[in-house]
Amino acid sequence: MTAAAAKQEPFAAIAEFGSASELYHAAEKVRDKGFRFWDVHSPFPIHGMNKAMGLGKSYLGYIIFCGGFTGFSTAVALEFIPSSFLYPLIVHGKPVNVFTVPAFFPVMFELTVLFSAFTAFFGVFVLNRLPRFHHPLFAYRPFRRVTRDAFFLVIESVDPRFSETGTVEFLTEIGGKEATLIYDEND
C-alpha cells in the first residue's frame, strides 16, 4: 500500500472464506447486522444465497415479459399491416380474417421468443452494470481466484455502517480470513 493510497478513502473491506457453507453463514450475519452495500463473490451461484443476503427474487422476469410482449406486438403489426392493408394476398382462396389467424401464429411466437431472448441477454448485463472492465476488486490479486475456487465477502465503504477498523474486525469475527481494506487506484 503506497502512502498516497493510505490517505484516501478505501473502496471496501474484503475477506476470504473457506467454503460455500462458510460464506453462506457469514452472509447471514452481515445481513443481520444491517449492511446494505455489500456482496458475496463465488465461483458459481450458491443455492439459497439470495435469502442469506436478504435479497428478493430477481425482477428481470418482468422486464423480459415486457420484451416478449413487444415482440408479439411487432409480429402482429408486421403481419397484419401488410397482409390486411398494404398488399392483401388471397392464397388458396383464404382471406385475412379472424378464421385465418392461426396461420399467423408461428411468426408471432418466433418474434415473442426472439425479443424475450434479447431482453434477457441485454437485461442481465444492464442490471449487473456490465460490461465494466475496470473495478477496484480486480486490483486485489487474491480476488483472481474467485473464478477458480475462492469465496469472498466485500463490504463497500459507501455503506453507512462501514468503518475502516470496525468492518475489518467484523469480517474476521465472522470467520473471514485475511480481512483487509482495498483501495480504488484510479481515484
Partner: protein, 480 residues
C-alpha cells in the same frame, strides 16, 4: 388396509438403498476441475490439432469452392431437376438443423427438468448446435438458384411492393431458423461469460488477457450478479424449450402442408422433433467420445453421462421407429392409392437401399442400447452413433427425394442422381462443422466450469465435510 401397509425394513429411504452416482467422480475439487478444463486452451497447441484442422479446413475450403462454383455457374451443376426439385440441398438443411436440437434440449429442457448431469455436456452440445445451424443456414441461401434474390426471404416488400405471404410455412421457417440461431448464440454466450472470467483471471499472455478480458465483460461473480444471471438463464431455458420444439415442427410443415403423398401427414411435427433429438444426441456422442479421451475428461463426462445419452437415443430412436411403422400402416389403412404407392415405392422402389439403410441405422441399431454393457463401451457407442448420423441423413433423403421422384402421374416420374458438386457441398459442410468445433475446443472452455462446480457436493451451502479431508485438492495441485 393392513396388508397394503409397507413393513418397516422396506421403509429405508430410496436415496439410501440406491444412492445417486456422483456427477464428478473421484471427489475432485473445484481447483482440479478448473485446471483441467481451463488448462486446455492454455496449453501449447498439440500436433494432432494442427493435422486435424488442416484436413477438415481443406475439406471446408473445397465445400466453399463448390458453393462458389454453383453460384457462378447456376443450379444446373446440381442433380436437381423436375420432378426432384429438392434433393441434397434440403436434405442437408434438415439434417444439420436437426443435429442442433440435442444441444438446445440439453441446455434448456434438461435445465427445466433439473437433470444435473447436463452441466458436463451442455457447453459443447450448445456449441455443436451453433455450428450445425450455421451449416444448415448455408443451404436455403444457395438453393434458391438466383442467390442475389435471397433477400426475398426477408419480411420486406419487393420492388413491386408485394409483401411475402406470412401464412406460408416457408416464411415461418425463415423466422423459426433465424430466431433459433440467434437465441442459441445468446444462450451460449451468456453461459460462457463466467468461464471466460476464469480464463481471463488465469491468462498469462498479453493477448489472452485482453481477448478473454473483453469477452468476459468484467464478470466478478458477485451474488448480486448471479441473481439476475440465474434468472436470465432460467428464462432463456424456458423460452428455448417451446422454441426447440417449434423449429423442427415448422421445418416439417414445409412438407406436411403440401399435398404430396409421403409428405402430407399429420405425424410429421412430433416425428421430426424426435428424429432431430435422436440425431443430435448421436452427433453429441460422436464429438464428445474422442474429446473425452483426448483431454482426459473421464471424471467429468463419466460413463453415467454416456449411459443416459444412450438411453435418450434408444427412446427417441424407438419413437422414430414407431413413426416409420405408423406412416406405413396409415398408408395401408387410409385407402389412398397414391399414398399406398408412395410407401411401397419407398421400400421396394428404385431407392430401396436408402430406405432400408435408414431403417437399419435408425431403428435396429439403437436397440443394442437395451444392453447396459453396450451403453458403456467406447466401440459400440461410437458405432451406433455413427449409424444414427448416417441413418438420419438417409431419413431426410428418403422423405424428400423418394416422395418427389414418383408422385401422381407416371408420365411425370423421374430419377435423381447427385453430381459431384452435390456430394462435395455436403462433405464440405461436414468440414466446416468439424473445423468450427476444433476451433471451439482449442480456444474456449469445452465444459461449463461454473455449472459443474455448482453440482459438486461442497457447492451446497449446507454441506458439512465428513471425516478427514479427502486430499483430492492436493492431487489437483499436483496434476496442475
Amino acid at each position: 388396509m393392513a396388508e397394503t401397509q409397507v413393513s418397516a425394513p422396506e421403509m429405508v429411504p430410496f436415496e439410501e438403498r440406491m444412492p445417486r452416482p456422483p456427477l464428478v467422480e473421484h471427489t475432485r475439487s473445484m481447483a482440479w476441475l478448473t485446471d483441467l478444463i481451463a488448462g486446455v486452451p492454455e496449453r501449447k497447441t498439440p500436433l494432432w490439432w494442427f493435422i486435424s484442422i488442416a484436413i477438415t479446413g481443406s475439406i471446408a475450403a473445397f465445400g466453399v469452392f463448390c458453393i462458389l462454383y454453383l453460384l457462378f455457374t447456376g443450379v444446373g451443376v446440381w442433380g436437381n431437376d423436375i420432378p426432384v426439385g429438392w434433393a441434397f440441398d434440403i436434405t442437408n438443411f434438415v439434417f444439420w438443423i436437426g443435429i442442433g436440437h440435442a444441444g438446445t434440449l440439453i441446455s434448456a429442457i434438461l435445465l427445466l427438468t433439473r437433470q444435473k448431469w447436463r452441466t458436463a455436456v451442455n457447453r459443447s452440445a450448445e456449441a455443436m448446435t451453433l455450428f450445425a445451424v450455421i451449416c444448415a443456414a448455408i443451404f436455403p441461401g444457395i438453393h434458391v438458384g438466383r442467390v442475389w434474390m435471397v433477400w426475398f426471404l426477408a419480411p420486406v416488400p419487393n420492388p413491386n411492393w408485394i409483401w411475402p405471404n406470412f401464412r406460408s410455412p416457408l416464411m415461418w421457417d425463415v423466422f423459426a431458423v433465424s430466431t433459433y440461431f440467434t437465441v442459441s448464440v445468446l444462450f451460449w454466450f451468456l453461459g460462457l461469460v463466467p468461464d471466460l472470467g476464469t480464463l481471463r483471471d488465469r491468462a498469462k499472455s498479453k493477448v489472452g488477457k485482453v481477448v478473454y478480458g473483453i469477452l468476459a465483460l468484467g464478470w466478478r461473480g458477485g451474488n448480486r450478479q448471479w441473481r439476475h444471471y440465474e434468472m436470465a438463464y432460467l428464462i432463456l431455458a424456458g423460452i428455448s424449450t417451446p422454441l426447440v420444439l417449434s423449429v423442427h415442427s415448422t421445418v416439417s410443415f414445409d412438407f406436411a402442408t403440401s399435398v404430396l403423398p409421403g409428405w402430407h401427414t399429420t405425424i410429421f411435427p412430433p416425428y421430426f422433433v424426435a428424429g432431430a433429438i435422436f440425431g443430435g444426441f448421436a452427433m453429441v456422442l460422436t464429438l464428445l467420445m474422442p474429446a473425452r479421451s483426448i483431454y482426459k475428461l473421464h471424471d467429468v463426462i463419466t460413463w453415467n453421462h454416456i449411459d443416459v445419452m444412450c438411453k435418450i437415443i434408444l427412446l427417441t430412436g424407438s419413437i422414430v421407429g414407431y413413426a416409420y411403422s405408423m406412416e406405413f400402416f396409415v398408408a395401408y389403412y387410409g385407402a389412398n392409392p397414391f399414398e399406398r404407392f408412395a410407401f411401397i415405392n419407398r421400400y421396394f422402389g428404385p431407392y430401396w437401399w436408402a430406405s432400408w439403410s435408414m431403417f437399419t441405422c435408425n431403428v435396429i441399431m439403437p436397440q443394442l442400447f437395451w444392453v447396459r454393457a453396450f451403453r458403456r463401451n467406447l466401440i459400440t457407442v461410437l458405432f451406433v452413433s455413427m449409424c444414427v448420423n448416417a441413418g438420419m441423413w438417409f431419413e431426410r433423403f428418403v422423405i424428400f427425394v423418394i416422395s418427389l421422384h414418383r408422385d401422381f402421374l407416371p408420365s411425370s416420374w423421374g430419377m435423381y442422381y447427385p453430381t459431384w458438386v452435390d456430394i462435395w457441398t455436403f462433405i464440405g459442410t461436414i468440414g466446416i462443422f468439424v473445423t468450427l468445433f476444433l476451433l471451439f475446443i482449442r480456444f474456449l472452455p469445452m465444459v461449463a466450469i461454473s455449472e459443474v462446480r455448482s453440482v459438486l457436493p461442497e457447492a451446497d451451502p449446507h454441506y458439512e465435510p465428513v471425516g478427514p479431508h479427502t486430499g483430492a485438492e492436493d492431487v489437483g495441485e499436483a496434476h496442475a
